[in-house]
Amino acid sequence: MASDLGLAVLILGVSVWTIAARDTFAAVVGFIAYGLLLALVWVRLAAPDVALTEAALGSGLTGGLLLSASTRLRRGEITAFGDKPPATSRLAAAVICIPVAAGVAEVVLLLPEPPPTLAASAAANMPSTGLGNPVTAVLMAYRAIDTLLEVVVVLIALLGVWSLASDRVWGGLPGLRYRPDPDSPLTFIAQLLVPVGILLGIHIFWIGSVAPGGEFQGATIIAAMWILTMLAGLADAPAVSRRGLRLLLVAGPAAFIAIGLLGFAMTGAFLGYPPDYAKLLILAIEVPLTLSIAGMLGLLVAGPPRRRMER
């Protein structure tokens, strides 16, 4: 109880810092710390899968994205950011936000007792899916259509990011070219950490069927290793118009949809799994899905194309 109180106070303190800091870079660092503390809160709320996702994606990749953005904006020496609103506007904003927060607090305090739960139905149907992790069962079996739509949304977001390239570099390479420096500690850690990280990502993906983990967490780690390799200059970003890259990105959702249509033939419902083959079908979806998501996440962090493709 005391540790929960301390954790809540810490999170609120870091959030206030994120909002109130003068320097944008400092605010982004506060945000990364906030994400990591939130991962601890997920552990306290008995949600280890969510904790893994929050630490890797919510704090890690989002933090990296925002850090690089704040450095690029600062380097562009944009100093005139528009005026901070006067004190009366800030007071009016606070007057709006306090009732909103109070409303959410009231919802929390008036949640129905006894708490409604779907855990019983989830547990009852898990043997037919062949999975041991209830969250993975929800993601890949009970609400598989939500996961399919989510992956398609990420792919469309990637298309949106790619479409922001200027005409000159359309279809080119995202990000700047990082020069490999053999003496740099970044090269050292990229060469040492990346194989370990890829193994770790595959492990977390694989074990997600019976223990906390899953394809999103594993894919995030693999994407982070790819980003590290690109940052160290050991590999260049692929051109976004390359067919092989596009096939890799589409392979996951395509396998998902194909197995969904196969469900029509086998059980008469989209994404229906016959009980004997459920685990096999879920695995057949998850393997290309992990690779596709890793590619999507890495490319989302890399950004829109900024260099022309070599002919």
Partner: protein, 97 residues
């Protein structure tokens, strides 16, 4: 037996926490970036090592203990490398990146 193990855990984790506290005091009180980095990396690596050492007594098998130790080694690797990179960028007299 478990009482002795718990006592060892509490001792080791507390001393790890003391090292973390020392590192944070160094972060807040040292004058420039390089000395702060020094305080952070030395204290935090040793603090994490002591905490991991203390938690080893609570583990139920060798694989869990190995996972904890590998966490410590990975954190050591990441911390040392990032400290070197930040120190390179923050050297006095170098143009700011």
């Amino acid at each position: 037996m478990t009482l002795a193990l718990d006592a060892l855990t509490i001792l080791a984790v507390s001393s790890g926490a003391v090292f973390f506290l020392a590192g944070t005091v160094g972060l807040l009180r040292f004058p420039d970036a390089l000395s702060r980095l020094h305080a952070l990396t030395k204290a935090d690596n040793l603090g994490l090592g002591l905490i991991v050492f203390g938690l080893l007594f609570q583990m139920k098998g060798p694989s869990a203990a190995l996972k904890l130790v590998s966490v410590w080694l990975l954190a050591l690797l990441a911390g040392a490398t990032v400290a070197q990179l930040i120190a390179h960028a923050a050297r006095p007299g170098e143009p700011r990146q």
